[in-house]
């Protein structure tokens, strides 16, 4: 979780408290950051986690304010006994005597405390696996399941449901409840992307706290009383901010489910691939859930330095284009279906004899850093003008960046684009108009929308286009090469804050499509005569050695959450 770069100032000494967890001595910090990062007294739950244990919980979430309403984290504890003189009472062997917390009117019955909201004190003893704790958990689970519909075969949450998991781990096998269950509304339309099943809800209020305190849209609340408590939006279907789908992730049960993912696939079939969202320059870390070559969903992946545990709805739902039927599947040479061998042979020959300055390259900042690096190598050899195209949008205060390219900084650092993107495009247009630029290489952009209209493209001797989906530029291409979506290849993006993050391949590309870096590697080899690396690891390491901004980086050192560089 804590992958934040180390601050240069020496951290102040951390005050520690000695406690016992299940009889083991543990030293824990007195204060720990709360959901907002402010220091607060360490809670029992955090102390048990530091001791290597786990306390089951529903309403507690490390990134949300503590509510303490599900009672699942109840644990038995004891505090050092104090004499009338305010001195600790000692056992005959000199150890402090511990008074187990009991009910005041019933001293045989242990009195638990909710671990998520109770701070620890020096000398405290926690018993997260004592028989009394286990009984408390059983009782809480039983009461949570009283009105639960047990419709797991239909529920989309099944397989990643905390209620299922804890029932197996801490629950009872049989239900003692013979009365009819309270029935609540099912399939309630909470918002454009969220369905609510009130029967499954355990009223932990995680969703309410998330939308109020994180998303800043106080849209949800609890209505009605007692057994009829239900979650509701302030107006039917009004839960519509850009972060609603995070409530589906944090909902510990199947009450809030995604309309997009509804009844699409059971979660246990999904292969999880660590990746990065490509919808804007924030570069939220995601997990791609795919099965048999089909992407079913994106989910945020915890990265404290970038997105925390959240991501926006727009980015999360931006995966369908990967499986679009009209994707470019084959290599075309002058409109005729061809093969990579033929196209590459011709391109190698063409670029090999191209005079200095007769080639221009426009590469999208949606390409990976490695691809942009290879294109820059090519551009240096050919003396080519290069540029990228800016993609702007409306930012928000949480995650969405104004820059909608996932790798603008990658394009800048590799030297493909300048600080102001698109500044070279008029020059390229002039060059084409004047006839000095005869060959244009376009990677993943529709240049006809950015000043290089069809009339200019028609003047070119050669137009080499690699893209994923058809557009006006691909229609004009002499060499049309099918590219890969980021979910279909490996590589890195550099986000708006300079975090270099790698992503893995989730699905196979369709048809003849090949990862662009593989193709570019061949071009660079053939045109410049320098043989590079044919693996993404080697290529990245080579780039890190040659591009000053990436100095000292290695593919293996990027880890799952990336490394921040100065930009």
């Amino acid at each position: 979780m804590s992958n934040a770069p180390a601050t240069t100032a020496a951290p102040p000494p951390v005050e520690k408290i000695r406690i016992k967890v299940d009889g083991r001595d543990v030293e824990v910090p007195k204060l720990l950051p709360n959901w907002q990062g402010k220091l607060e007294p360490t809670t029992m739950l955090q102390a048990v986690q530091i001791a290597g244990g786990e306390v089951p919980h529903y309403c507690y979430h490390p990134k949300l304010p503590v509510a303490g309403n599900c009672r699942m984290c109840l644990i038995e504890f004891g505090t050092p006994m104090m004499g009338p003189d305010r001195k600790p009472v000692l056992n005959p062997d000199g150890t402090p005597k511990i008074a187990r917390s009991v009910l005041p009117y019933e001293p045989q019955t242990p009195r638990g405390a909710i671990a998520c909201a109770t701070p620890i004190s020096p000398g405290m003893e926690l018993y997260p696996s004592s028989p009394a704790t286990k009984q408390m958990r059983e009782a809480v689970l039983e009461s949570l399941l009283i009105n639960h519909p047990l419709d797991c075969p239909i529920c989309d949450q099944a397989g990643e449901c905390k209620l299922q998991e804890y029932s197996v781990e801490h629950g009872q096998a049989n239900s003692r409840f013979v009365e009819p269950k309270v029935h609540k509304p099912k399939a309630v339309d909470l918002g454009p992307r969220i369905v609510l099943d009130d029967e499954r809800c355990i009223l932990c209020t995680r969703c309410i706290r998330f939308t109020r305190d994180i998303a800043g849209d106080d849209a949800l609340g609890i209505v009605n009383r007692g057994s009829y408590n239900t979650i509701a939006a302030w107006k039917d279907g009004a839960f519509d901010n850009n972060y609603t789908l995070n409530t589906v992730d944090i909902c510990p049960v199947g009450a809030l489910t995604s309309k997009d993912f509804r009844f699409k696939m059971r979660v246990w079939f999904l292969k999880e691939t660590k990746s990065v969202c490509s919808s804007c320059a924030t570069g939220c870390n995601i997990t791609i859930g795919s099965r048999e070559g089909t992407i079913y969903r994106y989910e945020p992946r915890d990265n404290e330095a970038v997105n925390g545990p959240w991501m926006c709805d727009a980015g999360r739902l931006n995966y369908r284009w990967v499986a679009r039927a009209d994707r470019i599947h084959d290599v075309y040479v002058r409109g005729v279906k061809s093969t990579w061998e033929t196209a590459n042979r011709e391109i190698h020959a063409l670029l090999g004899r191209a005079p200095e300055g007769s080639v221009a390259i426009v590469a999208g900042a949606r390409q990976t850093t490695e691809e942009l690096y290879l294109l820059k190598k090519l551009a240096t050899r050919l003396g080519a003008l290069t540029d990228s195209i800016a993609r702007e949008g409306e930012p928000d205060r949480l995650l969405v960046s104004a820059d909608r390219n996932p790798n603008s900084n990658g394009a800048r650092l590799t030297g493909i684009a300048f600080t102001e993107m698109g500044i070279q495009l008029p020059k390229i247009a002039e060059g084409i108009a004047a006839g000095t630029i005869k060959t244009l290489i376009v990677f993943g952009e529709d240049v006809t929308k950015h000043g290089l209209g069809a009339d200019l493209l028609a003047r070119l001797e050669t137009l080499i286009v690699s893209d994923i989906l058809p557009n006006a530029t691909t229609a004009a291409a002499h060499f049309l090469l099918p590219g890969c979506a980021h979910a279909e290849k490996r590589g890195t993006f550099v986000n708006t804050k300079g975090r270099v993050q790698k992503f893995m391949k989730a699905v196979e590309p369709p048809g003849d499509a090949r990862a662009e870096w593989e193709v570019l590697h061949e071009w660079v080899h053939q045109v410049t005569g320098q043989n590079g690396f044919s693996t993404i690891e080697g290529l990245f390491n080579q780039m890190a050695r040659e591009v000053p901004a990436f100095a000292g980086l290695e593919w293996s050192k990027l880890g799952d959450t990336g490394v921040t560089i100065t930009i």
Partner: protein
């Protein structure tokens, strides 16, 4: 440890193989007599004559309908998950798919395919099914002229499976909900 079993040496008579031949022919003659003269054949005249399939026999798995003729399967895909030879392939309905025909059940499969060439008749699908929607039935002789024909789809499986009654839990839930007073939702 290897145990060497001593083989008794054959006697002179045994070495002619005639006693063994005679005892074998005796069995043949016995059955010949029974079949031809006594009219009690040892074999069955398959396929005109079929054997009685015993109770609990594990034949081909088929989908069943409830007593109202509705699909019981809710597309939970547990059978697909548990199936050792991966013979089952379910297409879930998705958000815009078909609504379940069964009262109060939210989901039913868009398509349900069992590749009978892959099926090993282990019965795991029946065992894992939380809806009692799939049962290994009595069919043991499955034939087809192509591989495609041996992939049974939902329609075919439901037709072959017949009706299996039992508790209609989703319908029961609906009745229970109706019995309770109408749910008081605050109208804002």
């Amino acid at each position: 440890m290897t145990k060497v079993v001593e083989r008794k040496p054959l006697s002179a008579l045994e070495r002619t193989y005639l006693p063994t031949l005679a005892s074998g022919l005796k069995v043949t003659w016995k059955h010949f007599k029974k079949t031809v003269f006594e009219g009690k054949p040892a074999t069955m005249e398959y396929p005109e004559e079929r054997w009685v399939v015993p109770e609990g026999y594990r034949g081909a798995p088929y989908l069943v309908k409830d007593q109202e003729g509705h699909t019981k399967c809710v597309s939970c895909q547990l059978c697909e998950f548990v199936c050792p030879p991966k013979a089952i392939k379910i297409t879930p309905p998705g958000p815009e798919g078909q609504v379940a025909d069964r009262t109060n059940a939210e989901k039913m499969p868009q398509e349900f395919e069992i590749n009978m060439l892959r099926c090993i008749f282990c019965g795991f699908c029946q065992e894992v099914c939380p809806e009692e929607a799939i049962f290994l039935q009595r069919d043991y002789s499955l034939t087809g002229e192509s591989r495609e024909e041996m992939i049974y789809n939902k329609e075919k499986l439901l037709k072959l499976g017949g009706v299996h009654g039992g508790i209609q839990k989703w319908k029961h839930k609906l009745e229970e909900a109706k019995e309770q007073e109408e749910f008081p939702v605050a109208k804002i």
